[in-house]
């Protein structure tokens, strides 16, 4: 996996250049779809044929057989971030192939949605990506607002942006801590949790909940900001800036950290796009694409911030991209908290939400990637069909492509760097 340097990784990803060579799916050497036919010999072909490519009965070569060891990582394993089960086929310590077995946490969120009214379903979305609950709520509320064709008032948008960016920070902190712990550095975990606490305090003071914050309502926000909200956020900004430097001093220049992450789990931009990978993983491969810029929602268009991108699409770049994203979030927060206007926080929304028959797809840039809601309304008070497009689920699909030929330790590193939340993968 080390020398995956297709030219499109180099240049800061001018998209047409990529999409020219995208036809034919993956352009990478180690995984190939020749033309438009699936080539089963190519790694992607065998990857897709997930069960077929690792025959799970133990090999029966009598003597000195150290290869083709099939081990079962998870569902209870310290490094799988929940109940992910990865079946590894190893040659010694080299990974020949993986298969993800998911669904242990499946709660049928989409089925529940069809039996709840739009308002009643709002809290459920927090339980999908419970690390970034506010983002989920924002996506859902805005999708329903789009269906109703109402627009949240400016002040509500500012509050939404502030809380969402804070939540992005919280999610990235949790990712950093657990990722570093997987690679063996215990200390950053405690630093990040110490600082994440400050964010959760703000959430708690705003809406009373720390993790599954049912913060937003369809049409705006239910709660007005508490007294001193701005001051809290500003204090947090002052408090958190040096903390990022602290994390970076521990990791960014650390020789072992670099050796463990550079050229590990490389995925080229073309492969990332073909696999539908979004979020920091896609940006680390050099694709400068962020829904906050491309299709701005809320009032992200009012803020100026950059989209950090990487070059090699390896674990180290993903790490750097997320670290820079934290700093960008701080920029957004600073502008938002200074420019927060007066005014109503709730649009005029009917008591009984009863959208016209129709369908709408709305997606936001969740901390983990594109979080989309596809809602079909039949004109009743309940969604006729609500489809969640979870970033973790789609990103996890890239795991096998990224760890092929790597070592067991790299599998752990890559699972960490994909930043999956099983609650969202399984829904």
């Amino acid at each position: 996996m080390t020398e995956q340097k297709t030219p499109d990784q180099k240049a800061p990803a001018t998209i047409p250049a990529q999409s020219k060579q995208l036809p034919g799916g993956l352009t990478d050497t180690s995984m190939r779809v020749t033309g438009t036919r699936l080539d089963p010999s190519g790694a992607l072909g065998s990857r897709a044929a997930s069960a077929a490519h690792l025959d799970l009965d133990t090999p029966d070569h009598p003597y000195l057989d150290s290869n083709e060891l099939v081990i079962n990582m998870g569902p209870q394993h310290p490094a799988t971030h929940g109940v992910l089960r990865v079946i590894l086929k190893l040659d010694g310590e080299k990974v020949l192939g993986t298969e993800c077995v998911i669904g242990y946490l499946h709660r049928g969120v989409e089925k529940i949605a069809e039996n709840r009214t739009y308002t009643m379903f709002n809290p459920y979305v927090d339980r999908m990506d419970y690390v970034a609950a506010v983002s989920n709520g924002l996506g859902y509320c805005q999708a329903v607002e789009k269906l109703l064709n109402v627009e949240a008032p400016p002040r509500a948008n500012y509050i939404r942006v502030i809380l969402t960016e804070l939540n992005r920070l919280a999610s990235h902190q949790l990712w950093l801590g657990t990722h570093a712990l997987d690679i063996g550095a215990m200390t950053p975990l405690f630093y990040t949790f110490r600082d994440r606490e400050e964010i959760l305090k703000i959430f708690e003071k705003y809406c009373g909940a720390r993790l599954t914050t049912h913060a937003f309502r369809i049409g705006g926000c239910l709660y007005e900001t508490y007294a001193g909200f701005e001051k809290d956020v500003k204090n947090f900004l002052k408090f958190f800036e040096p903390k990022i430097d602290e994390y970076e001093t521990l990791l960014t220049g650390n020789r072992i950290w670099i050796e463990r992450t550079k050229n590990v789990g490389v995925i080229s931009a073309a492969d990332a796009i073909a696999l539908g990978v979004t979020g920091p993983v896609l940006r680390a491969s050099g694709v400068k694409w962020d829904i906050r810029k491309a299709i701005p929602y809320a009032n992200y268009a009012d803020f100026d911030f950059e989209i950090p991108i990487g070059e090699n699409g390896d674990t180290y770049d993903r790490y750097l991209v997320r670290m820079r994203e934290m700093r960008q979030s701080l920029r957004i927060l600073e502008q938002a908290v200074n420019g927060i206007p007066e005014g109503p926080i709730m649009a005029k929304v009917p008591k009984v939400i009863k959208p016209a028959p129709g369908e709408v797809y709305h997606s936001i840039e969740a901390p983990k990637g594109e979080l989309g809601y596809f809602i079909v309304s039949d004109g009743s008070t309940q969604p006729y069909r609500l489809r969640v497009r979870p970033p973790s689920f789609v990103n996890l699909q890239a795991l096998d492509v990224m760890v092929r030929g790597a070592l067991v330790a790299d599998v752990v590193a890559v699972i960490g760097t994909l930043d999956i939340v099983l609650g969202e993968v399984d829904r």
């Binding site: 070569h61 009598p62 003597y63 000195l64 057989d65 150290s66």
Partner: protein
């Protein structure tokens, strides 16, 4: 090792160290352990058990060396055999499919040949022991301090200041042999160099 020990005998007769305690008991104990574990080595079906028994044998032999006031040899025995070789040995054995091995018949078709060979070897040993009894020292091994054993081995192998040692040449040849063996192993394992 014999000449080394002899030289140690001559040289160390002079300086008498502390009186060792319970020497015979230690000797018989260690010898018994060595023999028993040696038997285990060839009787156990599980290869890992045999390997562990072999390690015990080697360690007790090292203890015997200590009692012969040859601590250096004992140390080398522990490091090289028990510490180094046996670990790699276990390393290999672990990758063998134990169940398969233990199911197999323990004697293959040519066991009579092996029996004959071992009988011949036994006869050879007995003959050597009978003929060469006078080679063995009459009186029990005299006490000699272990304090100079290492230095004696060193001078025997490398020679003292200036003068070339008794066994320097043989020693270097042996090391060359080892080098060849290492290269051969590398070439065998590497498909292409």
């Amino acid at each position: 090792m014999n000449p080394v020990v002899n030289s140690a005998v001559n040289a160390a007769a002079a300086n008498v160290g502390a009186a060792p305690v319970g020497t015979p008991y230690f000797f018989y104990g260690l010898a018994a352990v060595a023999i028993l574990s040696g038997l285990l080595v060839i009787t156990r079906r599980n290869a890992v058990h045999s390997a562990l028994a072999l390690i015990v044998t080697l360690l007790s032999v090292a203890g015997l060396y200590l009692m012969l006031y040859a601590p250096f040899v004992a140390g080398v025995q522990i490091i090289v055999y028990a510490g180094g070789i046996m670990v790699l040995f276990l390393f290999v054995i672990m990758l063998v499919n134990i169940e398969r091995v233990s199911k197999e018949r323990q004697f293959n078709r040519i066991w009579p040949v092996g029996l004959v060979a071992s009988c011949l070897l036994l006869a050879l040993f007995i003959g050597a022991f009978a003929k060469g009894r006078d080679l063995l020292p009459k009186n029990p091994v005299p006490q000699l301090s272990e304090g100079i054993n290492t230095q004696q081995i060193a001078s025997a192998l490398y020679g003292d200041a200036g003068r070339m040692g008794q066994y320097t040449f043989a020693f270097e040849i042996a090391s060359l042999l080892l080098l060849v063996a290492i290269l051969g192993a590398v070439i065998m394992t590497k498909k292409k160099i």
